[in-house]
């Protein structure tokens, strides 16, 4: 059995997105209850968040953007950059806690205190661009995590696997010219889903060409298509790239009961995906894997999906 970390902090509930918004604190409560109610907590290394040092945020985002975000929050603005990004005065601090918690988790993994971890954070991050908030995201959590691994822990090759049902435009753009970070995303086809990027011909640019890989999936395809793409695209790519650490952008929103998408992935489908990723981590990166929450909006399904996710991390 692995030593698995679980990052969860009640302060992540303070980011209030206001009325009519799917990215709600109850998502995290559902995830927490799914893990707690099945008595998994005692088997996990519980991690509380600390606030991230701005110097790490600045490895990805422009200073001007960080200040704009902070000022908008202090000024009590309800929306930042796009109407989707509804926020409250605590949003900026919560976003810093999300990043800080992930960086603390990385330290534990790199010091061999834990083998892998699930970071149940809010707000999510993969849509956040260098200087633009989008799609419920403010700081690009996984991108900052990758930079931290490189700068603080001297990791040369980071592999990011993003199975949120939306394409991680921010993460892709941040690393598209960088051959030291491989970004793989499987998502609902951009013609029929937000944010409209992530076509199969987007493969990176300049020295980073070939280090971005997208598997757009047409609506209604479900488990079999996902498995096919995963095996044909990702497994082959990582066999060549051999990441030293794997970061996962975990989104549960491709589930059949999640109305944010039309993909119809089953609960078992999610387990299959995570099983494959954990296996890759054991082959290429000495088991080092950090899973970071992105989307997933079905409050009914999140408990079981989170429980299965953690069990796979523990038992692989």
């Amino acid at each position: 059995m692995n030593k698995t970390g679980f990052l969860y902090d009640e302060r992540y509930l303070l980011h209030n997105t206001g009325p009519y918004h799917p990215e709600v604190p109850a998502r995290l409560e559902a995830i927490y209850s799914g893990i707690k109610d099945t008595n998994l907590l005692s088997m996990l290394t519980l991690i509380k968040a600390s606030s991230a040092d701005l110097k790490w945020i600045e490895t990805v985002h422009e200073k001007n953007y960080i200040n704009r975000f902070k000022d908008a929050c202090l000024a009590g603005k309800k929306i930042f950059d796009s109407p989707d990004n509804q926020m409250c005065p605590e949003t900026y601090d919560t976003a810093l806690l999300a990043v800080g918690g992930i960086l603390d988790t990385i330290d534990l993994v790199m010091k061999n205190k834990i083998d892998n971890a699930f970071c149940a954070v809010r707000p999510p991050g993969h849509h956040a661009e260098i200087s633009k908030a989008m799609g419920f995201c403010y700081f690009n959590n996984v991108a900052i995590a990758a930079r931290y691994l490189q700068k603080e822990w001297n990791i040369k090759k980071v592999g990011i696997v993003d199975f949120d049902v939306h394409h991680g435009n921010g993460t892709q753009h941040i690393f598209e010219q960088d051959p030291s970070v491989f970004y793989y995303s499987i998502h609902q086809h951009p013609s029929f889903g937000y944010p409209g990027t992530g076509q199969e011909f987007e493969k990176g640019s300049g020295p980073g060409y070939g280090f971005t890989l997208n598997s757009p999936v047409l609506p209604d395809q479900g488990d079999s298509e996902y498995k096919k793409f995963f095996e044909n695209d990702l497994l082959a790519a990582f066999e060549t790239f051999k990441p030293e650490v794997i970061i996962v952008s975990t989104g549960f929103d491709a589930h059949v009961d999640d109305d944010m998408s039309d993909i119809r992935l089953s609960t078992e489908g999610f387990s299959w995906i995570m099983g494959k990723i954990v296996k890759m981590a054991s082959i290429y990166s000495n088991g080092r894997l950090i899973s970071v929450l992105e989307g997933g909006y079905s409050l009914k399904r999140l408990p079981e999906l989170a429980k299965n996710h953690v069990e796979i991390l523990l038992n692989s």
């Binding site: 989707d84 086809h189 937000y194 990027t197 109305d259």
Partner: protein
């Protein structure tokens, strides 16, 4: 949506007495396919396309086709020898719609844009029109496309637009496909948001069919075969 807003204003032109190589180099350098030919007073007298240039030059697979004696011979030919005289032009007050229709009718790839005196003010090419279309669709901004089937009767579009506006969602664009199943139209709102689940449920409750894009794809493939 006027041509004057979408045209390229910095027009690369050529003199009628220039040689063919000069025109070829200009096209390569600026990555363009049309060079208007203008007189000294900027009046348009012709146009030369990359196809005209290629027809005038020998096969590029032949060795030394553009050096030595061959080049010397070719230098004797001028743009006025190969240009299209009196080309189609459009005026500044043309709409984008006019330009698209004219392009389809004439099968020409670019029109010089001229004032009343026939002096060149810009050029509008397929690429400029494509860019104008992208602007109209609003697709440079992130968003989500919905596909809604509506009965072909008055007031349907208003109902759909109202239902979406009530949710405080901004539109990138709304397209209507006129030719769908009999008595039906397809409406494609492009919404500048990720939050579409609520409005999708609402539209379904109102009795609209939200098209499953895959089903549509599969039907199309079946028809094509």
């Amino acid at each position: 949506m006027f041509v004057s807003q979408s045209m390229t204003r910095e027009v690369i032109t050529i003199n009628k007495d220039a040689d063919i190589f000069e025109a070829k180099d200009k096209m390569t350098k600026h990555r363009i396919r049309h060079l208007p030919v203008v007189a000294k007073d900027n009046r348009i007298i012709g146009i030369v396309s990359d196809r005209d240039i290629r027809s005038a030059l020998p096969c590029s697979l032949l060795k030394d086709y553009d050096t030595g004696k061959v080049r010397e011979k070719l230098l004797a030919f001028k743009i006025k020898d190969i240009m299209i005289i009196d080309p189609f032009t459009v005026s500044l007050s043309y709409t984008i719609q006019d330009a698209i229709m004219l392009m389809q009718k004439t099968r020409v790839g670019a029109f010089p844009v001229v004032d009343k005196q026939g002096r060149i003010k810009g050029i509008i090419s397929t690429r400029d029109l494509l860019h104008a279309f992208i602007n109209v669709l609003g697709i440079e901004e992130s968003g989500t496309l919905l596909c809604i089937i509506a009965e072909e009767k008055i007031g349907q579009l208003k109902k759909i637009v109202d239902a979406i506006t009530e949710e405080n969602i901004s539109f990138g664009s709304v397209l209507v496909a006129r030719y769908w199943d009999e008595g039906k139209k397809a409406v494609f709102p492009y919404l500048l948001t990720k939050k579409v689940s609520h409005v999708k449920r609402k539209l379904k409750k109102m009795g609209y069919t939200l098209l499953d894009p895959t089903e549509w794809y599969i039907n199309q493939i079946a028809q094509d075969n």
